[in-house]
Amino acid sequence: MPGRVRKRSPLKTPDRPYIALGLEGSANKLGAGIIRHAPDGSTSILSNVRHTYITPPGEGFQPRDTAQHHRDWAISVINDAVRTAGISLHDIDCICYTKGPGMGAPLVSVALVARTLSLLYNKPLIGVNHCVGHIEMGRQVTGAQIQLSFGNCLDRFARVINLSNDPSPGYNIEQEAKKGKRLISLPYTTKGMDVSLSGILTSTEAYTFDKRFRADGRAREGDTEDIITPQDLCFSLQETVFAMLVEITERAMAHIGSKEVLIVGGVGCNERLQEMMGVMARERGGNVFATDERFCIDNGIMIAQAGLLSYRMGYETPLTKSTCTQRFRTDEVHVAWRA
């Protein structure tokens, strides 16, 4: 970390190998991952298994159906993770699960399995904040500095224009955006270190009712150049939202004197965002780090990683406190393992 003296980490090097199982299911992805921290300070990912609940185009994932998906797949996903890792559940030190934020019913489904395993094998439970999981994963993979995440907005627009949810709405928006030709004006709102995404979705949606909108993306007979295609909207939405993100990231970097950006979460896979952040970071003489899609998207490993760090700091979640919470801010977490 340039410009600041690195403090000594409060986390002691492990005296023996520590292994954690991580279970994640706060949204439509169910993941199980097993991670090991070795005495030499190295971290290895023993397995990382995921099953995604994919809904038809135009539909989002409903809490009830998503919970049902997680219930149906939990056992086979965990079995897969354990088998791939080549260990027994007796060998693990703790069971980490996502406490929040996310959708209530899917979170609880995964927590039920985590609790049952905890009691069967007599292993401690660790409740993990989903966002901290993303950040810790990114740090482990790249060793960088700050983060920002969002994605709901893009997903919702994908639904408006009936894009496929396979493999993910965000990915399909990115592909459509590459075919966009014109930048349509959308509300651009940044307030200090926050962005406002509320008006932008409504405005983008409103363009789909515009006289000039062509849902099939083709000009009709008698059309002038002045038409709006779904591809144009994807392009404009992406450009505007990412511009806002880049702006507040730059401001945050200026505040803390950092030159490094780490992009995490599903949107972090977007190459255009990585490119825009890259330009900004280079202009400041810094770097941008992005994790690849295996670790960008929600996964069990990130929960295992963040959970194992807490466990090694002596933190456990007692069974009776192992509830879930839909709202769980990133800054509510006491990050004991960082100086």
Partner: protein, 95 residues
């Protein structure tokens, strides 16, 4: 299951057999962590009798009785399947 017609409240009792008292107790502990979402209209009592998990719900309306028992059975189903899959491996003495 029985419905109590004397008062406006409805009572449902479910008895779920497990392979052992230990497993029934695990299920009780796992389920009891999450509070009922509307405690003023849904009362829940879970006990273990030998290898039976006995859950009694007292609810203000029939609709709540249905919703509550559906949700409970869905959760129990998940716990039972998890125990079914991992129970034996867990009891294997640690090598």
């Amino acid at each position: 299951m029985s419905s109590n017609s004397d008062s406006s409240w409805h009572t449902i009792t479910m008895r779920i057999p497990f392979a052992s008292q230990k497993h029934a107790t695990i299920a009780k502990q796992v389920i009891e962590v999450d509070k009922e979402l509307q405690p003023e209209v849904v009362k829940r009592v879970i006990t273990v009798e030998d290898n039976l998990l006995v859950a009694t719900f007292t609810t203000l309306t029939v609709r709540l009785a249905r919703l509550t028992s559906n949700a409970f059975l869905e959760n129990i189903d998940l716990v039972v399947r998890t125990i079914g899959e991992f129970g034996q491996d867990a009891e294997r003495s640690q090598s």
